[in-house]
Amino acid sequence: MKPRPFDYVRPDTIDEAVAVLAEYGEEARVLAGGQSLLAMLNLRLADPGVLVDITRIAALDEIRDLGDKIEVGAAVTQNRLLAWPHLTAKLPLLAAALPFVGHFQTRNKGTVCGSVAHADPSSEIPLSLAVLAGEVVLRSQRGTRVLAASAFQKDMLTTAREPDELIIAIRLPVVSGRGFAFREVARRHGDFAIIAVAALIESADETRFGVGGMSGRPVVRRIATGGGSAVHDAINQLASELEGYDDLHASAAMRRNLLRNLGPVVIEEAIRCAA
């Protein structure tokens, strides 16, 4: 469990970082908290020529209130966001989801944007970003582009980031005062979820509903909450449509049933939260 040889660069500015990325392209990997990347290096599943350590870039280590959005820089750790005094008021869904991200110790190192970049299909932060319809800010020597969450994560561990691009931040819309709920099923506390579900009240008769762990990326739908069996039917249809997948911890059929079981519960909780 020792990595292959690699070069290590620790830039002090965003410009330096993107210059290294421009030079090395696919040879380079961005290192932030290292909670996934270092394990992959040690298992020799990742084989970068250069690691670009962005944790000392002061400009990335900021949480900025942009009014209708909160911008979380690429070096901000999960625990730092969790400890941000305005989190519950401005990003209550993140306040609910972040405690499920790994463990206290891993959140001290793991970054918010690193989780988005890694793009595990059942991860809590990408799911929250998708449900909130947030954005990912990418910087390269070619300029800056801002992608919607839905355009950023393409599939399991696959994103729209170009090799010369650095995620410099994500932007999470402020949703104060709206009902929300988050739930996940994991084998143990802190494990990757088997599935995770989140709901955010859109209006009196509509809820935004997201699920991770059913396909290669989080899936978000607007679900009518008009009454009767509408919610159950919509979730049931979504479960059949997404199919789910098999791994050691869950069969596809079990994933579908988890979605059928928990989808209506989390929507119900969001409605109650709004009330």
């Binding site: 040889p5 494990d191 088997i194 050691l248 049933n257």
Partner: protein, 749 residues
Amino acid sequence: MSIDPRAALAKDGVWAVITGEDVRKISDPFLVALKTPVHQWSLAVGRVRYVGEPVALVVAESRYLAEDAGELVQVEYRPLDAVIDPQAACGGSAPVLHPEAKTNEISVRKFTYGDTKSAFAQADARVALTVDFPRLSFTPMECYVVVAQYNPADDGYEVLANFQGPFSTHPVMARALRVPGPKLRLRIPPDSGGSFGIKLSVFPYVVLIAIAARITGRPVKWVEDRVEHLLAASSGPNRITEIEAAVRKDGRILGLRLDQLEDYGAFLRAPMPGPLYRMHGAITGAYDVANVDVVNRVVLTNKMPASLIRGFGGPQLYMALERLVQRIAIELGLDHLDVIRRNLVPAAKMPYRAAAGSLYDSGDYPRAVATATGDGRLDDLKRRRDVARAAGRKYGIGFAAVVEPAMSNMGYLSTLLTADAREKAGPKNGAVSMVTVNIDPLGAVSVTADVTVQGQGHATVLAQIVADQLGLKPDDVNVVLEMDTAKDQWSIAAGTYSCRFTPGTAVAAHIAASRMADKLKNIGAKQLNILPDDVELAQGKIRSRSNPDNAAPFGRVAGTSHWSPVMLPEGMAPALSETALWTPPELEPPSSDDRINTSLTYGFVFDMCGIEIDPLTYQVRVDRYVSMHDAGRILNPMIADGQMRGAFAQGIAAALYEEFTYNEEGAFLSGTFADYLVPTVSEIPPVEMLHLETPSPLTPLGAKGLAEGNCMSVPACIANAIADALGVKDVQVPATPRRIHALMEGAAP
């Protein structure tokens, strides 16, 4: 298989690439308990039989370089068919792992005790069940470590390794290295990073690294990493048990039949098949059953070799026996607890000779059950169940009663041979424990013992026992528990495993210390000018009982043998050191009719629990867990409590989380801690521990082993509760959400 090491050897800092061919030239296959042509060397020779089997060893300047070079070793394989399922491996069409052995089912032994045939003929009913116990391990904090060097001048090896024993494996290593025992000097450090049984299986690597030291002419260090450990260190064996009871309609068991098929993976390593035989004398568990037939079958499959882990055959046995007792209750329409009570060995029959030969030394099982279920505890469980069920929730209550053996009879494995073969080979039995108490020139006391340290608190308990005898404080006694086979005393039984410390080593310490105390009293009597009967050792002094003012400091009297042998009583040898060897007579060889007292002491554990299954997430939640223990006299309550809680946590692990998984082709699917789930503190439910103390009459301290009982009882107890909650017959552990989902939805797991 062919190996081309050239590219790896061309790398700077790479000293050697060692292959099976090198190993075959300078070492022999490991000795095994069975005379079957199943040859294992420390590297694969000619053929690879399981994922994780070491095929080549790269020796380099650093582990980084060695791993880089390892990727450059070119290995070409000619693929062969694999067999993973133990039952399929016994079939005629299965690929044979060791063609010389001609079969994968390398041992079949049938045993009959009492008159099982008549018992089944007379029974009102028969209840049968098949139980499949999975593979798992209990992973220590630190993995294997071996540092070896070879001295060509005397053709000797010196190895430091966190080996745990039993030291019966030392001759196995020395023979493999083709040296006499003293030429393999094995040192075991004072801390091992934990073990849970698994560090017995460092021994093939002791040989491998020793060979590497000889080939390279350098000291070689290997620190196993977690990937290597999970993939190839060791595992408990999986077992399929077909069990059947002949019962009266009131639930009384008249006879039992067990067919136990145990899967040891690709090789049988010493001292296997231990788990299949360690419980043999106690195969009827906590129940008074006179008639039992047993078939023990050993099978090899394409998995990592299985060996010792905590519980050592107990979890496998009790999963079958305790699930069967629950099934008897269901099929006869009786209360589960009533069936348990009706069959428990009665207190009046203690000491009790079990059908297959174990001598249960003491206990009051019915009282233990009555105590555990009393004080409103069972009523509370029933109330919780009724409330939950009334609300439509899935709640179940489980019970398990187990007998917990301790201090293995070194002769139990010879039950594997027929009586005729044993006759020819000569008897095997006993288990020697050794402790030495030393006095230094200033009278300071130190203790060495034949145990290896894994974190059980042995030093604390030994200090306490010795201090008690010498009238000192435990802090005054310095316990040194590293081992050196060249200088320390040891027998084949040495090491830390199968709860041998409390009935074995602790007793030897007691004997050695009491002998030392007697000598010091005689020395003191002369110096204090009183009769030996009037001397006591107390409060760091040697003094007169009748006149406590007539006293001398312990150290001054104790140091006499160093400075002034002239002051010793006439004819007394100097009191510098006392070594006690404790070998209890009850550990007899197997009898001609295959009865064997497999262990010295037998404790009792009775568990009961309530569990609830979350219908939304398919997770099992332990609502309340009560565990009653009778481990004889408790030597140190805090350490006993820690041991029991640790065993409980690992019982939960086996019941709900940990499993080594292979697919049908033999690919290993649980090679990281993301796949092999060790429960953390968040997953371990609270447990209420209760104690009864029925001292063992067979040891001077009256204490029994206690560190494995919950590993044995918890998986069975939780499986019984799940069966009760869901009304199902077959419960596979670990009862993962995936399996619970399949049970609830009738889907394929």
